[in-house]
């Protein structure tokens, strides 16, 4: 609808510009190909992007899983290894989601509804884990609790050498997934608290309820949909997580669905593809249900709009100082201690030594940054792949974000859902879909992308498209549509309106989207773990292989450098925050 109505005046203005020879006047203004652009072009860019980046990979995956009929599918799922991995996946995802919800809920309450001091700092401190790759978290905790923990050794608390690291296995996976996703629960529940109007609580108090009773009788029921959505979000992220069960589960042969898929492919090669496709569909199904539940619950029951009048903060009274100390103590335990252990491990000449003035060395950094071919190459590869993905998606997001922001109704819902799909589904699923698409040479050109940078880049484009698109769409939606109508009234054709009037207004959002894509791609392990080959390894892969091969100190150095790069980018992005649409930055 909207593109036709916007499109109509374009043709009339063209004729008004120079009635005698419209074609000539246009070709003088813009290059020939662009002169053909009208308001429907962005729409087609969006549709084509969605088909290539979302419909193709998942269509191919579904064909591979169900193509041979339903029996092989059932047979694969009823194998004992598949069943065990499915049970494990549910087990760790459920328990870890409870941990996330408990920690994130308590934090959200303290930050969003009480008179605790230093709320901004607490938010930042607890949202940082969101920006740290899961495999880095896992590595850091391994360094913290192992018998050779440099940190525990220096305070004499390390477990006896030779004993098993308690972080390995089911318990460690649950704990770390819980910690990793606390930020997700925190963000969702804080938004929920912001949606509770302050005067509703005041009304309950006018009815005779104390502050706490008013909050629990009236506020909590209003928070219920957000609790459900937060749980579903944490659950989905845990189901798809690869980095944590890969580092903590695989050494003990405790497998979840993503690690089972990885192990099958790693051990048996691409011949296993049809069978792992079945597992990938199963993971997608579990994750998909959770995503749909959270999206539905939030859309149906929760107004994401902030209340006109915010909640009056509860007075903690004498509990305030203990609460504040508790929150910061928790942060030291969950974030500072593991990262310190990671840094300590990266400064040792070899794994297991205590850290002191004699053993301190920067050798690992010199090794990974300058000497080892494989790490220098991985830094190059990760920078290049993440950078290209960011740049390409930024450019793609401009026309497609415009088109999406002007759509409404069912077409918008369907297109948005399709764009979200590759990001919402676990990376391991996307990787399988990519292998299926590109294992054979491309038709017509007869070039094989399998084993090249190309396949990783396309996977990144597919997976992170939505990260670039969301802020740009939001920014376009915030622009007054009259602005465009006024430009049309002045005689500006579509290309003019788009480049001169609209795009300048959304550039900060596009830049933010690009940096978000870069951050996520730079941290990424799951997709490249299945798609890399010698020469195209990413940082995630190198870290994983180092740890797998026992080069823990080198892995730690790589991890520390990654964290530094990420934190620098986060700080950069945060300084842009005031120019971005609200909700662009996950940690704000």
């Amino acid at each position: 609808m909207s593109d036709q109505t916007i499109g109509a005046p374009v043709h009339t203005t063209r004729h008004h510009v120079e009635p005698k020879d419209p074609a000539k006047s246009l070709s003088q203004r813009v290059p020939f190909a662009l002169s053909r652009m009208d308001a429907s072009t962005p729409y087609w860019v969006l549709v084509i992007a969605v088909v290539l980046l979302a419909v193709f990979p998942f269509g191919r995956l579904l064909i591979a899983a169900f193509g041979p009929g339903i029996e092989p599918f059932i047979a694969e799922l009823s194998r004992s290894a598949s069943i065990r991995a499915t049970v494990n996946t549910f087990d760790v995802a459920l328990w870890s989601s409870f941990i996330s919800l408990g920690l994130g809920g308590a934090l959200a309450f303290l930050v969003g509804a009480t008179d605790m001091r230093g709320k901004r700092a607490v938010s930042v401190a607890f949202l940082l884990p969101l920006m740290i790759a899961p495999q880095v978290t896992a590595l850091a905790w391994l360094q913290l609790f192992g018998p050779s923990s440099a940190l525990l050794q220096s305070i004499g608390l390390a477990p006896p050498s030779g004993s098993a690291n308690p972080i390995y296995g089911r318990g460690g996976i649950i704990l770390l997934l819980g910690v990793q996703h606390t930020a997700l629960a925190f963000i969702t529940l804080r938004a929920g608290l912001r949606a509770i109007p302050g005067d509703v609580i005041e009304a309950a108090r006018a009815c005779g309820a104390s502050s706490w009773r008013a909050f629990s009788f009236v506020g909590l029921p209003m928070l219920a949909p957000f609790l459900a959505a937060a749980f579903a979000l944490c659950f989905v992220s845990s189901v798809g997580n690869f980095g944590i069960p890969a580092l903590l589960g695989m050494p003990e042969n405790y497998l979840t669905l993503p690690t089972l898929i990885y192990q099958r492919l790693a051990s048996f090669g691409t011949g296993m593809i049809p069978r792992v496709a079945t597992l990938a569909v199963l993971v997608s199904f579990i994750a998909g249900i959770g995503t749909i539940i959270s999206a539905f619950v939030l859309a149906r029951y929760a107004t994401r709009i902030e209340a006109d009048k915010p909640l009056a903060p509860f007075r903690l009274g004498r509990a305030r100082l203990p609460a504040e100390l508790g929150v910061w103590g928790l942060n030291v335990l969950l974030l500072v201690a593991p990262l310190t252990a990671l840094i300590a491990a990266s400064l040792l000449p070899s794994y297991g030594m205590p850290l002191n003035a004699e053993t301190f060395t920067l050798g690992n950094y010199a090794e990974v940054l300058f000497r080892q071919d494989v790490t220098t190459r991985a830094f190059m590869n990760s920078f290049m792949l993440a950078g290209s993905a960011a740049l390409l998606l930024m450019m793609l997001s401009l026309p497609s974000g415009y088109a999406l922001s002007r759509l409404s109704g069912r077409r918008r819902v369907v297109l948005e859902a399709l764009v979200e799909t590759p990001y919402a589904l676990p990376g391991i699923v996307l990787a399988i879909a990519m292998i299926l698409l590109f294992i054979r040479p491309l038709p017509l050109v007869n070039v094989s992308l399998y084993g090249t940078y190309g396949i990783i880049l396309i996977a990144y484009l597919s997976s992170f498209y939505v990260l670039a698109l969301r802020p740009v769409t939001a920014a376009f939606s915030q622009l007054d549509p009259r602005l465009e109508e006024a430009a049309a009234m002045c005689g500006a054709g579509f290309w003019h309106r788009f480049t001169r009037v609209l795009v300048p207004g959304v550039l900060p959002a596009a830049a933010a989207g690009g940096v978000l894509v870069f951050l996520t791609a730079f941290n990424e392990l799951t997709v490249s773990a299945l798609l890399w080959s010698s020469g195209t390894e990413t940082l995630g892969v190198v870290l994983f292989n180092f740890e797998d091969g026992g080069y823990t100190t080198l892995a730690s150095a790589v991890a520390v450098v990654t964290v530094l790069v990420v934190l620098t980018l986060v700080a950069l992005l945060d300084s842009l925050a005031h120019r971005l649409p609200r909700g662009t930055l996950p940690w704000r």
């Binding site: 005067d199 005041e202 009304a203 309950a204 006018a206």
Partner: protein
């Protein structure tokens, strides 16, 4: 229903950021009195209401008494006040009955008594049959009634209404205003009503408290406020009055040297309060001005006139008058005892 008297002494409110929302003020409100706090936005009227409610505490030197009870330090839940919020603030997760009975359920009142109270209140505010509806199924007017019923279910000593009609459209607002006025009369409860709408204030109040920039500008009956505004602010805020500079001497009021009425109270510079109904076009009249705009309203024609060497004023005339924009006209007073304001 009981009604307590309210005694406010030296109540001021300074917010943590240093803004003084309320300057120290004292106010006595009699039991069962209906008082409307009237003023433009930002005048401190809502802050005053919230101090009475117990949602804000006054600065240290202030005190709030309900009859002989010192309630200054009590939070709202311990004050037994009923409150109707501008946004209604109905509990979205409960039904109409759940909302109205919320205060009774908190006190664990027996089920039978709850049922009786619900029936009484529903019939009193006129929402019988809606008890099991969800809040999102109600119209604005119905929500307003539910909010009132819930406030009354508290059996309040004092009923507080914070712009309860502002969220409604104009036609409904007028109907509910009349209805609310009669409900409040039947209740006989002490009621404090905050609004920025002078018609609402006139219709509902025993007494009006006009507020301006954190202070009380005037307290009086609607008649007193309209007829004897205590300051230029009150005159301009109530009834769209223009203030025409005048001089009182020799037992008369003089505008631009012209004697326009007799007046013996004071001497010196004064203002003549000119509301739209106070002046009429009159070829013999003492004032003269140019009509800048004329608007036909059906029941009257409203003229915007700029007085020669004077302020712009508004004059309502019969709808069939022939005066139009661009004309020059002479004006006279409707009656011989004009309202005079001494600066």
């Amino acid at each position: 229903m009981g009604g307590a008297g309210i005694h406010l002494t030296d109540c001021a409110k300074t917010f943590p950021d240093g803004t003084r929302a309320l300057l120290p003020l004292s106010l006595e409100i009699a039991p069962r009195e209906k008082v409307v706090i009237l003023g433009p936005s930002g005048c401190g009227k809502t802050t005053l209401l919230r101090i009475i409610a117990g949602l804000e505490t006054p600065d240290l030197e202030g005190s709030v008494y309900f009859d002989d009870d010192d309630v200054t330090g009590l939070p709202i839940e311990a004050r037994r006040v009923g409150m109707v919020f501008q946004s209604y603030a109905l509990f979205p997760t409960l039904t109409v009955a759940g909302n109205i009975l919320f205060p009774l359920r908190l006190k664990k009142v027996p089920k039978e008594i709850q049922e009786t109270r619900l029936a009484q209140l529903a019939s009193f505010v006129g929402i019988e049959g809606l008890e099991h509806r969800h809040i999102h199924e109600l119209s604005g007017g119905q929500k307003q009634r539910v909010a009132l019923a819930r406030a009354l279910a508290v059996e309040p000593r004092i009923l507080l209404l914070d712009e309860p009609l502002t969220a409604l459209d104009a036609a409904l607002r007028e109907r509910l205003r009349a209805e609310l006025s009669s409900l409040l009369d039947q209740l006989g409860v002490t009621a404090i009503y905050v609004t920025h709408d002078q018609a609402e204030a006139m219709a509902l109040a025993d007494r009006i408290v006009v507020m301006d920039r954190g202070a009380i500008a005037q307290v009086g009956t609607p008649f007193e406020i309209y007829e004897k505004p205590a300051s230029p602010f009150v005159a301009k805020f109530i009834g769209a009055a223009a203030l025409i500079p005048a001089h009182a001497h020799d037992g008369g009021i003089h505008v631009q040297g012209q004697r326009i009425a007799s007046y013996a109270d004071k001497r010196g510079d004064v203002f003549l309060v000119a509301r739209p109904e106070d002046l009429v076009p009159d070829d013999e009249g003492p004032l003269q001005g140019e009509v800048t705009a004329a608007t036909y309203f059906g029941d009257r024609k409203r003229l915007h006139i700029t007085l020669t060497d004077g302020p712009p004023i508004i004059v309502d005339t019969p709808p069939d008058t022939s005066i139009d924009a661009g004309d020059t006209t002479r004006l006279g007073l409707v009656n011989d005892t004009p309202r005079i304001l001494t600066p």
